[in-house]
C-alpha cells in the first residue's frame, strides 16, 4: 500500500514537471525567445560558473583545512616520510595549477559571454605561447620525476643484509606470516607440500625450516630494517600496510618483496593518535574474491628488546605440530629437535611410534 502511494507520488511529480516544461516551451514560443541564438540564459549560465567557483573552492579549502586529521593517515616508516613529502609537494604544485586554470575557465564565461555586436578576437595561433606552456610543464615535471625516481630507487633497492625477514603469504582470505627463527633463514617451500597442517608448504627436509614459526600476528622491531618476503597461495593478493606506506602484490608463482623501517612502536602510536585501541593493520589491496574486504592482520611494532623477547617466546612449527615434525627426515630429526626446541614428549611419542613399526 505504502509503495503504491510512493509510486503515485512520483508519477504526479513527473507529470507536474512535464507540465511545467510544456508551459515553459510555449512561453518561449510566445515570447519568441526560441528563435534567438542567445537568450538571457546565456548570462545565467555564465554567472553560475562564478558561483560554482566561489562556493566550490571555498568548500574545498575549508574541508581540506578542518578535516586534515581525518584523512591524513598517521605515518610510521622511514621511506614514508619521503613519499608523503613528495605527495604533498605534488599536491601543492597541482593545487596551484588547478586553482589558476579553474579561475580562468570559470571567469572567462562571464567575462567574454556573448554580446550581439561584438566580434571574437581572431587569434588562431601563437608559437611563443605554445612554447611557454610546453616548456614550463616539462621543467616542473622533470623536477617531480627526478625526485620521484630517486625515492623510488631507494625504496626498491636491495634490502640491507641485516634486515629482519618476515615471510607473508596471502591466501583466500587471510594472511600467514612466517619468521625464520634464530638461524635467520627461512626454510624452503613448495606449493605441492601444502596441506591442512602444512598450510605454507614448508619443506621440512630443509634444515632452515626447523626453527621457523608462524605467529598469530606480525611483530616488527622499531628502527630496524624489515624485509617482507611476499608470496601468494592461490590468487593475487596485495600486502597493504597503510601506516607504513607499504604495498606490494602477492603473486602466485612469483615471490616479491618490500623492505622498510618502522619508526614508531604501537604504544607510541597509541599516544600520538590518542587512541588507546590503535593497531597497525595489514589489508589486501588487490581484488581476490568474496572475502577481499576482510583480510585483516594486526601488525605490532615493538621496541627491539620487546621484539627479541617476543621472538624467543614463539614455538617453532616442528615443536607445535607433531605431524609436521614427522615430515622431517629421520637423519635430521635430532637437528630439528635442537633447532626447533622440540619438547621431549613429542620426541617420545615419535620414538614409540617407531618402535611399533
Amino acid at each position: 500500500m505504502f509503495q503504491v502511494v510512493i509510486g503515485i507520488g512520483i508519477l504526479l511529480v513527473v507529470l507536474i514537471l512535464f507540465m511545467l516544461f510544456r508551459i515553459g516551451t510555449l512561453l518561449d514560443v510566445v515570447k519568441g525567445s526560441n528563435q534567438k541564438v542567445v537568450t538571457k540564459s546565456n548570462k545565467v549560465n555564465a554567472a553560475l560558473f562564478v558561483v560554482l567557483l566561489v562556493i566550490g573552492f571555498g568548500w574545498i579549502f575549508i574541508y581540506s583545512y578542518v578535516y586534515f586529521d581525518d584523512y591524513n593517515l598517521p605515518l610510521a616508516s622511514e621511506h614514508g616520510v619521503e613519499t608523503d613529502y613528495m605527495f604533498w609537494v605534488t599536491m601543492a604544485i597541482t593545487g596551484v595549477v588547478f586553482l589558476i586554470t579553474h579561475i580562468l575557465l570559470f571567469i572567462f564565461p562571464i567575462r567574454y559571454s556573448y554580446e550581439e555586436n561584438k566580434r571574437a578576437l581572431f587569434f588562431p595561433e601563437n608559437h611563443k605561447l605554445e612554447l611557454i606552456w610546453t616548456i614550463v610543464p616539462a621543467v616542473v615535471l622533470s623536477v617531480l620525476i627526478f625526485k620521484g625516481l630517486q625515492v623510488w630507487g631507494d625504496i626498491t633497492s636491495k634490502a640491507p643484509e641485516d634486515a629482519e625477514v618476515v615471510e607473508v603469504m596471502g591466501q583466500q582470505f587471510a594472511w600467514t606470516p612466517r619468521y625464520p627463527g634464530s638461524d635467520n633463514r627461512l626454510g624452503d617451500f613448495d606449493y605441492r607440500l601444502i596441506g591442512d597442517d602444512n598450510k605454507m608448504g614448508v619443506d621440512f627436509t630443509d634444515d632452515g625450516s626447523y626453527d621457523d614459526f608462524i605467529p598469530r600476528e606480525i611483530h616488527l622491531p622499531k628502527g630496524k630494517p624489515v624485509l617482507f618476503k611476499i608470496r601468494a597461495r592461490d590468487v593475487i593478493h596485495s600486502v597493504y600496510a597503510p601506516h607504513f606506506r607499504v604495498k606490494m602484490d602477492a603473486v602466485p608463482g612469483m615471490p616479491t618483496s618490500f623492505h622498510f623501517v618502522p619508526t614508531k612502536t604501537t604504544a607510541e602510536m597509541r599516544v600520538e593518535t590518542g587512541n588507546a585501541e590503535f593497531n597497525y593493520e595489514l589489508a589486501c589491496a588487490e581484488i581476490c574474491g568474496r572475502g577481499h574486504f576482510a583480510m585483516r592482520m594486526i601488525i605490532v611494532v615493538d621496541t627491539p628488546e620487546e621484539y627479541e623477547k617476543w621472538k624467543s617466546e614463539q614455538t617453532s612449527l616442528v615443536a607445535q605440530n607433531e605431524i609436521l615434525f614427522n615430515l622431517v627426515p629421520d637423519d635430521k630429526k635430532e637437528l630439528a629437535k635442537v633447532k626447533g626446541k622440540v619438547k621431549t614428549e613429542v620426541a617420545a611419542v615419535e620414538s614409540s611410534e617407531e618402535v611399533k613399526k
Binding site: 516544461f21 515553459g24 541564438v37 540564459s41 545565467v44 549560465n45 574541508y63 578535516y67 584523512y71 613519499t83 605527495f87 605534488t90 597541482t94 588547478f98 586554470t101 579553474h102 580562468l104 570559470f106 567574454y112 556573448y114 561584438k118 571574437a120 578576437l121 581572431f122 588562431p124 601563437n126 605561447l129 606552456w133 610546453t134 615535471l141 617531480l144 620521484g148 623510488w152 630507487g153 625504496i155 605441492r192 601444502i194 611476499i230 597461495r233 592461490d234 590468487v235 593475487i236 596485495s238 597503510p242 604495498k247 603473486v251 602466485p252 608463482g253 612469483m254 616479491t256 590503535f278 593493520e281 589489508a283 589491496a285 588487490e286 581484488i287 574474491g289 577481499h292 574486504f293 585483516r296
Partner: protein, 629 residues
C-alpha cells in the same frame, strides 16, 4: 507544428527507399548505424549507472535493508536483506566493463566516428557500408551475451574489469569465474571484432574518401581525433584479444600461460611456469591506450564545439593535432604504470614513471589551448558548450591527480585506493561522458532534424556537472586516508572505519546524478519526435556536415559533394584593412562571423588575408583542371 510534422514525414518517405528492415535494422547508412550505436550506448549507460547505484547503496548505507531489490536481484540479496559480497564484486566488475567498453568505446566512437567522418570529410558514406553494419551487429551480439551473463546463477564475471588471472581463471576462486567469465571472454572477443571492423573502416574512409581540397591540414579536429583513436584501437585491441585467448586456453585447455604454483580448493594445481604478470602486461597494453580511445574522441568533439561557440578559431590547430599525435604515440609506452607494485622489476617502474609523466605535457598543451580559445571569445552557452567546458574542468582535475598516480614512489600508497577511483572517473569516465553528451546536444539537429530543449539541457548540465564533482571529489580524501577499492565494507578495519558520513554523502550524490540523467533521456526521446524543427546550420558552424540539408538522406548531399577551400575554423575572421577602410558600419556588421569550409576565397575578398588572395588564382586553375577531365 502539425504542418511541419507532415512535411517532415513526407521528406522521410521521399528519402528512404528501403523497407523497415533495411532502413532501421540492417542499415548500411553510416548515419543510421551511428544512431544504433548511440541508442545502444544509452541503454548500456543506464544499466551501468544503475549497477553503480546499487553498490553505492551498499557502500553509503551498509546497514540498509535491500530486500526491496529482491525482485531484481533475487538470491543475491540474502534473508537479512544484505547484498552478497561476491555479487558486490560482480556489480563493480560489470559496471567497469560496461562503462569502459560498451558505453565509452562503442557508444562514443561508434556513434560519432560513424556519424561525423563521412559528413565532415565530404563523403557519401563509409568506405564499406557492409563492414560498418557488421561492426554494429558484432557489437550487438557481444552486448547480448554480456547482458545474458548478468542473469547467470553463478553470476557474471566478478574479478574486476581487469580480470586478472588466476582469480578470473579459476572457478574455484570465485563463482563468477565460471560460466560468467567464459561469457565475458566470448563477448569481449566479439566486441574486439566489432571495434576492429569499425576502426579499419574509419581509417580507410578518412585516408581515401576526403572530398576535393580536404587535405589533412584542413580536417576538423574531430576527424583527427577519430582517426588517431581508430589507429590506437587497431594496434591495441588485438593484444587484448590475444590476452583473452591465452586466458581461454588456461581456463579450458589446461595450459599454464598465467598459472603457476597454485594451491586452491584443497588441491595443488599441476600448472607451473606461467606468469600472472604476463597477463597484466598484455591487458594494459590495450588497457592504457583504451583510456585514450575513450578520451580522444571526446577531446575532438569538444575542440569543435568550443571553437564554434566561442565564435573564434580553436587556438593552436596544429599544436592540437601535434598534442593528439603525441598522446597517441605515448599512450603505447606507459602501460606498466598500472603495475608499479605488482612485483614488476623496479627499473621498469622507473622507465614507465618517466614516460607517464611526459604524457602530461601534450595534455597540458591541450588544456591551455582550450583556455586560450575561450579567451576574448564571444561565448554562447549552448548545452553542448557547457558540457565541453565541463569536460575541460574534469580533464584538468582528473589529469592533475595523474601526476600522483604516475609517480611510482607516490603510487605505492595510493595504488588501488579510492584516490585512483577518483582519478580515472574524472579524467576518463566523466570527461569522456561529457564529450559524448556535448556531442549529442551539438549534433542532435543533424541526426534527427530537430532541436533538443536548451533549458532542460542547462538543468541537466548543472545537475550532472556538480553531481559528478560531489561524487568524485570526496573520494580523493577517502583515498588519501588509504581506503582500498573494491571493498564490500570497511568495518573490519580500524584504519578504514571512519568516513561513513562522507561515503553516505558520495552515495547520495551518485543517486542524485543518476536520477538527473533522466532529464536528458526525456529531452532526447521527446525532442526526437516533438522537438522544434532545426535549421540546416543552427550553430552557425563551418564544417561540411552543416552544408547538408536538415535531414541528410542516403548519400548525404543531394547534389555534388561540396569542395573544400579553407580550414575548418574560419570563425570571427576580421575584415582586412583594404575593405575596412571602405566599408560602412552597416556593411561591417553584415560580414558573417563564420565562413564554411566550402566557400571559396574568391567569394570572401573582405576577410581574406594577403596569402589567401593568392589562393584565389589556384581555385580557378583547379576548376579548369576539373573541366579538362
Amino acid at each position: 507544428m502539425s504542418t511541419e510534422d507532415t512535411m517532415h514525414n513526407n521528406e522521410h518517405d521521399h528519402d528512404h527507399h528501403g523497407n523497415f528492415w533495411t532502413t532501421y535494422v540492417f542499415s548500411t547508412d553510416h548515419k543510421m548505424i551511428a544512431k544504433q550505436f548511440l541508442i545502444s550506448g544509452i541503454i548500456w549507460a543506464l544499466l551501468g549507472g544503475a549497477l553503480s547505484v546499487i553498490f553505492r547503496l551498499q557502500l553509503g548505507f551498509p546497514d540498509m535493508d535491500l530486500s526491496w531489490l529482491k525482485p531484481v536481484l533475487g538470491e543475491w540479496i540474502d534473508i537479512q536483506g544484505k547484498l552478497d559480497p561476491e555479487f558486490y564484486l560482480a556489480l563493480v566488475t560489470m559496471h567497469g566493463t560496461i562503462m569502459v567498453f560498451f558505453v565509452l568505446t562503442a557508444g562514443l566512437s561508434g556513434t560519432f566516428s560513424n556519424f561525423l567522418i563521412p559528413l565532415q570529410i565530404g563523403a557519401r558514406d563509409m568506405a564499406s557500408g557492409f563492414m560498418n553494419m557488421l561492426s554494429y551487429w558484432f557489437f550487438f551480439t557481444s552486448s547480448t551475451i554480456m547482458f545474458i551473463s548478468l542473469f547467470l546463477e553463478t553470476g557474471p564475471a566478478s574479478g574486476g574489469w581487469v580480470i586478472y588471472p588466476p582469480l578470473s581463471a579459476l572457478p574455484q576462486a570465485m563463482s563468477g569465474s565460471g560460466l560468467g567469465m567464459t561469457m565475458w571472454l566470448v563477448a569481449m572477443a566479439l566486441f574486439i571484432v566489432s571495434t576492429l571492423l569499425g576502426g579499419i573502416n574509419y581509417i580507410t574512409t578518412i585516408i581515401n574518401m576526403r572530398t576535393d581540397g580536404m587535405s589533412f591540414t584542413k580536417l576538423p579536429l574531430t576527424i583527427w581525433a577519430f582517426f588517431l583513436t581508430a589507429i590506437i584501437g587497431l594496434l591495441s585491441f588485438p593484444v587484448l584479444l590475444s590476452a583473452a585467448l591465452l586466458l581461454i586456453f588456461d581456463r579450458s585447455f589446461g595450459t599454464s600461460f598465467y598459472l603457476s604454483e597454485i594451491y586452491i580448493g584443497g588441491e595443488a594445481l599441476p600448472n607451473t611456469g606461467g606468469s600472472p604478470i604476463l597477463f597484466q602486461h598484455l591487458f594494459w597494453f590495450l588497457g592504457h591506450p583504451e583510456v585514450y580511445i575513450v578520451l580522444l574522441p571526446s577531446l575532438g568533439i569538444t575542440s569543435e564545439i568550443i571553437a564554434t561557440n566561442s565564435r573564434k578559431p580553436i587556438f593552436g590547430y596544429r599544436a592540437m593535432i601535434g598534442s593528439m599525435l603525441g598522446i597517441a604515440i605515448l599512450s603505447f609506452v606507459v602501460w606498466a604504470h598500472h603495475m608499479f607494485v605488482t612485483g614488476m622489476n623496479p627499473f621498469l617502474g622507473s622507465i614507465f614513471t618517466l614516460l607517464t609523466l611526459i604524457i602530461a605535457i601534450p595534455s597540458a598543451v591541450k588544456v591551455f589551448n582550450y583556455l586560450t580559445t575561450l579567451w576574448k571569445g564571444n561565448l554562447i552557452f549552448t548545452p553542448a558548450m557547457l558540457f565541453s567546458i565541463g569536460l575541460v574542468s574534469y580533464f584538468i582535475s582528473g589529469g592533475l591527480t595523474g601526476l600522483f598516480m604516475g609517480n611510482s614512489a607516490i603510487d605505492i600508497q595510493i595504488h588501488d585506493t579510492y584516490f585512483i577511483v577518483a582519478h580515472f572517473h574524472l579524467v576518463m569516465g566523466s570527461a569522456a561522458f561529457f564529450g559524448m553528451l556535448a556531442g549529442v546536444y551539438h549534433w542532435f539537429p543533424k541526426m534527427f532534424g530537430r532541436m533538443m530543449d536548451a533549458k532542460l539541457g542547462y538543468i541537466h548540465f548543472w545537475f550532472t556537472f556538480i553531481g559528478v564533482y560531489l561524487i568524485f571529489f570526496p573520494m580523493h580524501y577517502i583515498g588519501i586516508a588509504g581506503f582500498p577499492r573494491r571493498y564490500y565494507s570497511w568495518t573490519n578495519f580500524d584504519t578504514f572505519n571512519g568516513f561513513t558520513d562522507l561515503n553516505m554523502f558520495v552515495s547520495i550524490a551518485a543517486i542524485f546524478t543518476f536520477v538527473a540523467q533522466f532529464i536528458f533521456l526525456f529531452n532526447f526521446f521527446y525532442s526526437m519526435f516533438k522537438g522544434r524543427r532545426a535549421t540546416a546550420n543552427p550553430w552557425k558552424s563551418t564544417t561540411l556536415e552543416w552544408t547538408t540539408p536538415v535531414d541528410p538522406g542516403h548519400g548525404n548531399w543531394p547534389g555534388d559533394i561540396p569542395k573544400v577551400y579553407r580550414w575548418p575554423y574560419d570563425l570571427g575572421k576580421p575584415v582586412n584593412d583594404e575593405y575596412a577602410a571602405k566599408f560602412s558600419d552597416e556593411e561591417m556588421k553584415n560580414v558573417p562571423d563564420f565562413i564554411p569550409q566550402n566557400i571559396p576565397f574568391s567569394k570572401t575578398p573582405e576577410t581574406n588575408f594577403p596569402n589567401e588572395n593568392e589562393l584565389i588564382a589556384l581555385e580557378d586553375e583547379d576548376d579548369k583542371a576539373i573541366e579538362v577531365k
